[in-house]
Subunit: 771 residues, 2 copies
Amino acid sequence: MKNYITHDEWCIVEDGFHPQHNEITESLMSLGNGRMGQRGNLEEGYSGKTLLGNYVAGVYFPDKTRVGWWKNGYPNYFAKVLNACNWIGIDIRIGTEILDLNTCKIEEFRRVLNMKEGILERTATVTLSGGRKLRIHSKRFCSMADDEAGAISYTMIPLNFTDHFTIKPYLDGNIRNRDSNYDESFWNEIQAEAAGAEGYLILETKENPYQVQQFRVATGMYFDVKIDGAKVENTVENRVEGKYVSGSVCVEGREGQAITIYKYAVNLSSENYAKNELLANAKSYISRIVSKGFDCMYAEHIQAWADKWAKNDITIAGDVAAQQGIRFNIFHLGQTYTGEDERLNIGPKGFTGEKYGGSTYWDTEAYCIPFYLSTADQKVARNLLVYRHKQLQKAIENAAKLGFTDGAALYPMVTMNGEECHNEWEITFEEIHRNGAIAYAIYDYVRYTGDESYLTEFGLEVLIGISRFWKQRVNWSADKKQYVMLGVTGPNEYENNVNNNWYTNYIACWTLRYTLEVIDRLWKDDSRTLNEIIFKTDLQLNSELAAWKHIVENMHYPYDETRQVYLQQQGFLDKELLTVDDIAAHRPINQKWSWDRILRSCFIKQADVLQGLYFFEHEFDAQVIRRNFEFYEPMTVHESSLSPCVHAILAAGLGLKQKAYEMYVRTARLDLDDYNNDTEDGLHITSMAGTWMSIVKGFAGQRVVNGMLALKPYLPQEWEGYSFRIGFRGSLLRVSVSRQSVSIENTSETPLSLLVNDQKIFVDGRASVQL
Amino acid sequence: MKNYITHDEWCIVEDGFHPQHNEITESLMSLGNGRMGQRGNLEEGYSGKTLLGNYVAGVYFPDKTRVGWWKNGYPNYFAKVLNACNWIGIDIRIGTEILDLNTCKIEEFRRVLNMKEGILERTATVTLSGGRKLRIHSKRFCSMADDEAGAISYTMIPLNFTDHFTIKPYLDGNIRNRDSNYDESFWNEIQAEAAGAEGYLILETKENPYQVQQFRVATGMYFDVKIDGAKVENTVENRVEGKYVSGSVCVEGREGQAITIYKYAVNLSSENYAKNELLANAKSYISRIVSKGFDCMYAEHIQAWADKWAKNDITIAGDVAAQQGIRFNIFHLGQTYTGEDERLNIGPKGFTGEKYGGSTYWDTEAYCIPFYLSTADQKVARNLLVYRHKQLQKAIENAAKLGFTDGAALYPMVTMNGEECHNEWEITFEEIHRNGAIAYAIYDYVRYTGDESYLTEFGLEVLIGISRFWKQRVNWSADKKQYVMLGVTGPNEYENNVNNNWYTNYIACWTLRYTLEVIDRLWKDDSRTLNEIIFKTDLQLNSELAAWKHIVENMHYPYDETRQVYLQQQGFLDKELLTVDDIAAHRPINQKWSWDRILRSCFIKQADVLQGLYFFEHEFDAQVIRRNFEFYEPMTVHESSLSPCVHAILAAGLGLKQKAYEMYVRTARLDLDDYNNDTEDGLHITSMAGTWMSIVKGFAGQRVVNGMLALKPYLPQEWEGYSFRIGFRGSLLRVSVSRQSVSIENTSETPLSLLVNDQKIFVDGRASVQL
């Protein structure tokens, strides 16, 4: 755990340079706009510890699988998010000395991520050789308004000297993924040119044997140099060589004068432009933003963020660390996925690092969808669902590779384009509950938005594919005279290859029930559309539906009659049942125990019975939830970043306020304080949505009941108050909870009836209610 | 399956060159002598498909582990058998043309492994450019008499031309393991010299961070060139450069004259000589064998093989393919391990390839020990046991890494020096039954030899270490009120991470019982020695023994009351129970099914309940064995080379002669006919012992009953007769089985009473009995 980030309500502040933590700070201070993302690297370059990172949404490389021991069915490649051309670089030479914070003396340093504005700002004073003092002030953003562009203003003031400054803004394509399986470069140069202050570099991903398209990215730049606001017209010397272009300008830097470089850049990908039109588009894009100018771009960018915060901000009174933590989470979620493009999704590290290189996990459906449903336009969550619909055919092919037939769909554990990327058999082949979460997200979306049209347009096809998978994946146990599901790994990855994981069995049968229910509803209400879907999916209305019903009615669920709790899996009671308190000295077990010891222990990474009770809370009474919570919570080590939020929500619902707060604290500052010693690899983007849920679904008890928004807010005793903004079916609410009252302000024109503590409340457009 | 090897009783014959199968032939025609091994590569070099291989016993490199996903407890390195200096190479240039069977025209070609003599012989006629015809005749052996030496005679006759021949015998250390994890060379050059016909190259394994010693190997050579028998005294031009030494001679090759090169070579390792004396020893070794001369070395080598065959030959009448198959297996076992050195063991590929680079698996104890017990001096099997005793401390450390304490020992799955090398969690950490096989081998050895002294000298310490492991590895199930063993993989590797694998539970309790029994015997007979062992192992006589007894009395064994069979593991009956006939089109499933499908199917790679009933046959009645055989055999796909032999033995014992023969056929020509498409990687050395067992323990029913050798021989109807040679406590028998009779000839001086078909028979020294 680190503690070097200054607490502040709106900013992430590194006060004084922490070179040993530089890669952590770079992760924390990443900027993005849904189309591109840039780690908090230093513009002038840095010879110390640094992980350069610029990522372009949707652009990846199929890196050939490398495993110790091959298992049949492993995918041939891992689609990795690509570290792309460095667009922020500005080499600075003062006299003969290269400006490098790793070699000069740092007198003063402050790096600030301003989350309100989405700006990364840095001020520093350094002493160069010969006692020359230089002041630096840089500002950077990835524009939310022009979402393929970024801009930098970089100012230097020689405080006590006059010297030649050689300023060389550049684009550099000599970038490798640190996690490349074979230490390869993934990029070829297609075209490079530079003329004066303009430069362009077009790179393409290398050929591959997997029929994966080769992506092309055009990066363009333009720069201006001004001294005390007056544009410098000196000659620019260009270099174009080996995936690199630059323009170099020499100016006289006089004591006390400000030299400012404005660098504008764009990253356009062949996902959005014809390959042969990339250069022309990059040029016109550059021309457009340059004529707009830095200040105008900046203003538009800030406005875009203001609009976002108006929909999703959470305030916490009386706890600056908690306030900073929740805004940090909301900020990164907001810049990772904007919902503009249904071909994109949310990687566990977003645009903040390379690790877990694939883009999409079940995290999106299980954790992120609720956040976007409540805080963004309906289309944002919808596009996340459509992403899976677009990959349905690939999911059917993926299932076919594992021996499933007749349109059964198994969505991948990790994917960029719909093909499975992961290669641990116990996860790739067995952590199939992901399929259930994808079905659940459809239900969750429809429940929240009321948008039934999604089912006929896209959802039912996906549900049918997944139901077909479950049907084939279970088998009849002649011994139990019930259906069983063998050889699975549940969300609790501290068990592998178990039989009858309660969560997986439950979500499988739930999928079958929900699919049957949707078909039944359409049968009555819209048989014409149903027929189209039946035709398209070749659904055998009689035999398939009968088989699904038979499974629903005859599934085996492991259960302990004595304790009256569901059993995580068959045989769970053969374990030595201890609590985390019994092994205090052994934690975290994922660092202190060998894998087999973890597997045969009772300890739980993330409690999947509780995950199931959280998803399907409406199908269980509180006593059942409480018994299971009290059985599993003491065995849960929460060594998944996705675990505490579910416990926080359940605990809040059960009135276990102390436990709920304890769980909240575990998730809220995970990255900011580097709890797991891995923030340098990038941020835990998807678990950030869990933090948001801990407040809104946990402390505020947000649910949807019979198509109505429902809240049961309470104030954790550690806080003085909190507020959050959520949208529901056209209304936009600001809910404020204090020690004395709950107030609900409708900031939209659309009136809303909602349930607060089970009481129906009406809030008119632009009105407030105090409770 | 391939069918290009000519059937012959004593020889493996490749008639006509099969370049597409060259790597297979190279494996089949490997030579060795227990100290070194050499694949059947061509002396003159070959630019086509080839896997060069020279291996020096006990010399390995700790190759840094490379896995896709790290699991706690994985070893840091994999100790790999090293591809060492090429000592057979003789470059030949005729005029300006390099002799290379890949580029010249092959008129006639025959490569023969003469198993009786242990000689690799090759005759070929090739046409070079300009129609020049050349006859080649080479002979090579790794001397069984001088076991650090090899010799080659290589003759060329220009049939229709006269030209300059440049002959360049060399030693080449520029060799890499094809399976290197990081594509590294593992060797550094220490010294190289060449003078005239002599050359030496001393290589050392590279530095490593694992405290593994650096091995040094000195390879030496000397050569003679003769023309029609007369020694050529031409000038030798030497080259010493970059891990390479050579001596080059130019001779006039006249039409019809025979040019013969005799190349002598030695491989001495720092395991047997002080590092700084390696060169001197290599020189004196070379000098000694050169003065002995090729013919004398050859004669001594043949005699050594004759002595071996006198102890271990099996003849089969009426089936040349079967005869060739069994001798092929015996031959390779004989040249892989001679039992001279208790630091050595038997790798699954012996000295025939790199794959499974580690040396020792449980194969040695479960399959090879019975072969060596019956066919070699007692010390050979004893040395294999001592090998494990020497590694006891490492086994204790290995267990400690996984959290076990107080002297619990877990032997590695794969090892060279006692440290675990393997890195698949489900095998490395969970396939712990290996520990039981190591205990069983002690019992097996003592039962066969009557050598109880082994227990006090070495065996009991190992048994105590293993018993302590089992004690800690089980846990009390409050639910079952019995001990359970969770999270294991049995010998059937088509199940992973199962609970209560019957075989593992049984062998664990058997180990505890046997250890208790040995202690009890010593308590009565030799309490002084027992006390020494108690002191040395810090055994808590009261508490530890009581705990072991409690486990023995309260272990859970999964059982099907309906079918009255043991269950392979908890929950086995939840599977869909099919037979291999139901999935004929899907076999082999390890190629056609994804791993998860294999895991959740009922299909068995190698039936571990049957393995247990084979090991502990004396503890079960025939009805029990039969019921289990009939339950599991139909589900067994035998996709392990170690599987069919156990079924053959059990089937033979149950009188299921057809099944026994079917199983025998599956194992006997596995490599010769390349059943599994992997002979090119090397031979399945350890499963060869299983083939031997299928005949001796299967068809001939060899057992030990109350300290007596017992036989129940029958003749498979497909054969006309068979005979085998076995030793038992000083006697040496030749047992011949024909349609009419069984004859037992005692070829030693030591008389023997044995049981034949449960009747006690006496065979005097040098006498025969006909039954």
